[in-house]
Amino acid sequence: MKNCEYQQIDLLALPTATPTPAPLHGGDTVQRREPRKARRKWEVFPGKNRFYCGGRIIVARQSGVLPLTLGLILITSGLFFTFDCPFLVKHLTCCIPVIGGVLFVFVIITLLQTSFTDPGILPRATQDEAADIEKQIDSNGSTSYRPPPRTKEVLINQQVVKLKYCFTCKMFRPPRTSHCSLCDNCVERFDHHCPWVGNCVGKRNYRFFYTFIVSLSFLTAFIFGCVTTHLALRAQGGKGLVFALQESPGRYLFLLVICFFSVWSILGLSGFHTYLVASNLTTNEDIKGSWSGKGGEGVTNPYSHRNIIINCCSVLCAPMPPSLIDRRGFLPEDESAQTGCAEIELPTLATKSEMNVVGRSSCLHGLLGTRKQPKIQRQNKVDNNGNFEE
């Protein structure tokens, strides 16, 4: 009579890299655990982000055109400092490279801060929280076959605001929060996903972004002005503008074209964002027209302080909120092991194993085909037909 008995394999004891079978001990259940290196939370972050420097730097997975942005700024500024500054220092004033230098440093630092800072990502709901929310939704009596879109209405400063349920993050999104499909994260006070900086712009990095575009518009306007002055001075002193241009046509053309288009586009963007800051709006809300009165009468922005200066201060000078995703924190030991078991290679057993007790309630699937609850602390036997016998 065939006698099949079951032994639970301790997954933590499995060597994942080796194909040889793990030795199984008889007697009691395997308690041997390999000491696991504590993992940090960024290593198991579910969103589409990349981390550097041990989780200190966070960027979107698609870095967009950030290298192009950096390259353009560096090349333009490099050409300016190398060729135009010496001439202008000689003929005008030595303040020019100083001002240019300060603006350049501001631009680079704020650009890197915008790109590498957590924009205000909300961590996904834990299983307990998600279950609690599901319970609340179900208790409200949703009996239709297809669940209706889940929304919750709240009253904010006498304005009705609908909060949507995020199926990815398993929670009701707080007001002004939006889910970025490129980064697969819910971001607080979501403004937009900027491909030029390769990151979302949200609550935590909006001030960096705003400072970046304002200082960049000053820098491009400054370089444009200086290059034009340089050309004009050369044209005055020499044989005309055409001759001055011919000296280094490629460089002048490049600088003028880049700066001309940048000035208009970036100045325009800065102006637009200044308007948004003054009225405490986000690009997302402005595009959707959430508070512009399209929704009906009396729809006003409930977040605005009704005062331009207070709005500006609350957006740009408010206390810097903390990062909620705790990238550098350590995972608790049990979670570290479970999340690490997402994909495991099971060793094939070639030898007969010793019989052991199954210490858990279970339903057996697959080959047996029967679903019985074996009692705890008993040896489970299978008879000839493969039926489970207690």
């Binding site: 065939k2 006698n3 099949c4 008995e5 079951y6 032994q7 639970q8 394999i9 997954l11 199984l24 440093v105 630092i109 704020t110 961590p123 834990t126 929280e129 609690d132 709240v154 009253l155 904010i156 400063n157 909060l163 929670m171 707080p174 007001p175 006070r189 001030r207 400072t211 409930p302 977040y303 201060c313 000078c317 408010a318 206390p319 810097m320 909120p321 903390p322 909620l324 995703i325 705790d326 999340t339 078991c341 997402a342 994909e343 495991i344 290679e345 099971l346 094939t348 057993l349 070639a350 030898t351 007969k352 194993s353 279970s362 057996l364 699937h365 697959g366 080959l367 705890i376 299978v382």
Partner: protein
């Protein structure tokens, strides 16, 4: 065989003896974490955010019915109200925060790399307060209050430590 599973995986090996060759069989049975948590382990009560005054961090002071038998309503309200006040202090717009903001802007926000922000200082205060409350009030009643920052400032959770029923 590669198993992809995000729940707990219990792997059972079965060797059928009694014949010349043994056939190793492997069953993989998955447990959902929820199934394991619900009947025997501690359960959690969540207090959600209160958005009635905007996006500032506030929690609802409505007393959850699940804590009826374990906690005073007044005690609960006092704890949540103190937390709300502390978060309001962290996010307060005032002279000090404006000064910090302007100084940060002038230094291209590099002072954030060296200085602890006002918000972080208040978060430490909140962590200390929660630890105090747990020691003095909640632990004696078999409850554990978790810091909302660990839940992304979404909820305040009370964990009721029910001892697991062992057979």
């Amino acid at each position: 065989m590669v198993v992809k599973n995000y729940d707990i995986c219990c792997v059972y090996s079965c060797c059928c003896s009694g014949s010349d060759t043994s056939f190793p069989l492997i069953f993989v049975q998955t447990h959902s974490l929820q199934d394991l948590h619900q009947p025997t382990a501690s359960s959690k009560v969540f207090v959600q955010r209160d958005y009635s005054s905007g996006t500032h961090c506030r929690f609802l002071t409505k007393f959850p019915s699940e804590l009826d038998s374990r906690l005073d309503k007044q005690q609960f309200e006092e704890t949540v109200q103190t937390l709300n006040n502390l978060y309001a202090e962290a996010e307060k717009l005032g002279g000090k925060s404006y000064l910090e903001g302007c100084l940060a802007c002038l230094t291209a926000y590099t002072i954030f790399l060296c200085m602890e922000t006002h918000y972080e200082k208040v978060l430490k205060k909140i962590a200390k307060y929660i630890k105090d409350q747990n020691e003095k009030i909640y632990a004696p009643r078999g409850l554990l209050l978790t810091d909302p920052i660990e839940r992304g400032l979404r909820v305040v959770s009370f964990e009721t430590n029910i001892k697991p029923h062992l057979k």
